[in-house]
């Protein structure tokens, strides 16, 4: 049985940043400018009507500013009564004359206030909401909701059970895209709803003790390939984002439906469950146009997007739920260990590229089939890093969850002719010849064997000087294990009896941005029955190996993570320290086979402390 759930979220944002900026051209700031308030409310009304015309219910997230506007409040009450819309709250749209007077700040991002201010603002927003509606909201949100903020909300307002909690992969790319002026540094979370950990909102909770108490929803459903290497605000279920990305041709936008349909197809990988959310703030539908698009096109794209959800609902292919309803449905049959998987294909650039995304309480990772299934992103969720953000914290604006591997920020396979980049792959060798599977494009398929999800890659051919072999990679993900089991199978050799080496390796680092972090303190270890070797990272370019290694590991105290690699039988383990021009560490396991055979390894991510 397949279920596709859709959340439509609207907010009466009385002073949207974009509209306000536009209205301010050549004028001084005025948060009470009548034209902006009227236009914003008009757009909100249009959005609501667009959804209702399609028979879709919405979640109305009241902004703080809108709670002071009798008309906005009246619309919310009316639509709740007539259409069954949920009235929730949001921490977007805080800025208004009342907020400015009360908090004396122009800060617009709830997660960037000090923890003391966060608590005061939560109380003010929820208090005003209760005063206006006579009840507390059960859903809330922002572009990002840090765990410390949510823990306070749950302690004070336990009825809250859903929150828009992050924008998927809005980090350095979003910052760069916005001329280095948009501080949503939020990389590293899941792309679909999840139950967050009390310790870090990005991480799925491990168990009921770790459960933060609400279901987190990402802001928009984003293209899992285009957004990995492009701005989040170009490629998601937000028609005006797509116009910003110029994905339209003339006035047509088939990509929106393609994106929705690919999300629907993710039910194949997730026990029949699929999800979408659409959340467009009024500022994106300015009457004077936005992103080279006139208002008529902005409106058309919104109406057509909503019409597609409506069509799916009428065909019985989608269920429109409010945020709180969705949270209840999501929790109904969900174990904490259940992963989220997505074998994503390119629907934008006309390549045949696939990427496989996986998230569970231990890790999030991505495999790139254009690079032979190389692992190009790895986040150690098992560490459950307590990493508060906002004023007065060490992280301050950088709310991303750290990576061990991020091949776009830290080079990956291709470096500029020196050093190594962060990637996990495998090298197939013979004598002095060697080929990295990163250079072997392939395709993948997905299957399930009991509690194990299996990603099977089509074999690739490695051509040496006077013979060739075929190599197949298989990734096995056993629920709750915290490990990736990797099988590299060599077969179909054209020369009988030839020796071939299989070198499984991971080159990693840690960080949240493109820039290198200090690796001093990282400890690399080889552990075997006959001895052990340790290298304390000091950029000395040292190497070590052990003939029969039971385990090769790196402990990275900066992110409280132990990363280890082990093989299923006798294999040579090795370590490589990097140097300043190549600030990486490498763990590897190597085995030689004759003509055909396989190497089976397990990559594990654990909390170090």
């Amino acid at each position: 049985m397949t279920a596709f759930y859709v959340n439509i979220v609207h907010r009466p944002e009385m002073v949207p940043e974009y509209l306000q900026k536009e209205a301010e051209q050549g004028k001084v700031e005025d948060l009470t400018r009548g034209a902006v308030l009227r236009e914003s409310l008009d757009i909100f009304r249009t959005q609501q009507q667009t959804a209702h015309d399609q028979g879709l219910r919405t979640t109305i997230q009241m902004t703080y500013a809108s709670l002071f506007n009798a008309e906005a409040v009246a619309i919310a009450k009316d639509h709740h009564a007539r259409f069954g819309d949920e009235i929730g709250s949001t921490f977007l749209g805080l800025q208004c004359a009342e907020f400015r007077e009360q908090f004396r700040s122009k800060e617009l991002a709830i997660w960037l206030f000090s923890i003391e201010d966060k608590r005061r603002i939560v109380d003010a927003v929820f208090g005003k909401f209760h005063e206006v509606f006579g009840f507390y909201p059960t859903s809330t949100g922002s572009y990002y909701m840090d765990a410390e903020l949510v823990n306070y909300i749950k302690a004070s307002y336990p009825m809250v059970r859903a929150a828009v909690a992050t924008c998927w992969e809005e980090g350095p790319k979003a910052y760069w895209n916005a001329n280095n002026s948009w501080y949503t540094l939020l990389d590293g979370g899941p792309w679909n709803p999840w139950i967050p950990s009390k310790r870090n909102i990005h991480c799925p909770a491990s168990d009921s003790d770790d459960d933060i108490g609400l279901v987190a929803i990402p802001h928009l459903s984003r293209d899992l390939m285009a957004v990995f290497d492009g701005p989040g605000s170009y490629y998601g279920t937000h028609p005006q984002n797509l116009l910003r990305g110029m994905v339209n041709e003339d006035r047509e936008l088939p990509y929106f439906k393609n994106l929705v349909d690919q999300y629907r197809s993710l039910a194949t990988y997730n026990d029949g469950y699929a999800y979408n959310m659409m959340y467009v703030g009024p500022g994106w539908m300015s009457k004077s146009g936005r992103w080279e698009a006139d208002y008529a096109l902005l409106l058309k794209s919104y109406q057509e997007g909503m019409a597609y959800y409506g069509e799916l609902k009428r065909q019985g292919l989608a269920q429109d739920l409010t945020m709180s309803e969705f949270a209840d449905v999501y929790r109904r049959d969900r174990s904490y260990t259940r992963p989220e998987s997505a074998l994503w294909r390119d629907i934008l650039y006309s390549s045949r590229r696939q990427m496989f995304w996986y998230a569970d309480p231990s890790m999030r990772f991505c495999l790139d089939m254009n690079q032979g299934g190389a692992l190009v992103d790895l986040r150690p969720y098992a560490a459950k890093l307590v990493r508060p953000c906002g004023v007065g914290t060490k992280a301050n604006q950088d709310a991303s969850y750290p990576f061990l591997v991020q091949s776009l920020y830290r080079a990956g396979y291709f470096t500029h002719y020196a050093g190594e980049g962060a990637v996990k792959s495998c090298k197939i060798g013979h004598g002095q010849e060697q080929a990295d599977l990163c250079t072997c494009r392939t395709q993948a398929s997905f299957s399930v064997e009991g509690d194990t999800r299996v990603v099977t890659l089509e074999p690739v051919t490695i051509e040496f000087a006077d013979f060739s072999v075929r190599v197949q990679s298989i990734f096995r993900l056993t629920e709750g294990s915290g490990e990736i089991e990797i099988v590299r199978r060599v077969f179909d050799s054209t020369r009988p009896g030839v020796e071939v080496s299989i070198d499984e390796y991971i080159t990693a680092c840690y960080g949240t941005t493109e820039y290198p972090e200090d690796l001093t303190g990282v400890r690399l270890s080889l552990i075997g029955a006959t001895g052990s070797e340790t290298i304390d990272y000091a950029y000395q370019c040292r190497e070590a190996e052990l003939a029969e290694a039971a385990c090769v590991e790196a402990v990275v105290p900066q992110v409280d993570t132990r990363l280890s690699l082990r093989a299923d039988g006798p294999a040579l383990g090795y370590l490589r320290e990097g140097f300043s021009f190549s600030p990486m560490y490498t763990l590897g396991v190597k085995k030689t086979i004759v003509e055909k055979g396989e190497l089976r390894t397990w990559l594990k991510v654990e909390k170090a402390s």
Binding site: K173, N179, V247, E252, P254, N258, D261, R290
Partner: protein, 69 residues
């Protein structure tokens, strides 16, 4: 020189857009041209539209409705 103002739409600089930077341009009404504060691009509306068309070309599937997944 006249004061630069916003144009009729918020045209972004097409050269900055090529490297995925959204940079609104200013419009010089006297010369009927847009200019970028970041990368020194200057051009009239036709030139901006020409380069925007070029930008779109990277999306090989932008006109295709994909129904098989």
């Amino acid at each position: 020189m006249a004061q630069g103002r916003k144009g009729k739409l918020n045209y972004r600089c097409p050269r900055c857009l090529m490297r995925e930077i959204d940079m609104d341009m200013l419009y010089d009404a006297e010369k009927a041209e847009y200019y970028c504060l970041r990368c020194s691009f200057v051009g009239d509306e036709a030139e901006v539209l020409r380069l925007n068309t070029q930008f779109r070309e990277k999306y090989g599937a932008r006109t295709i409705r994909i129904t098989e997944f």
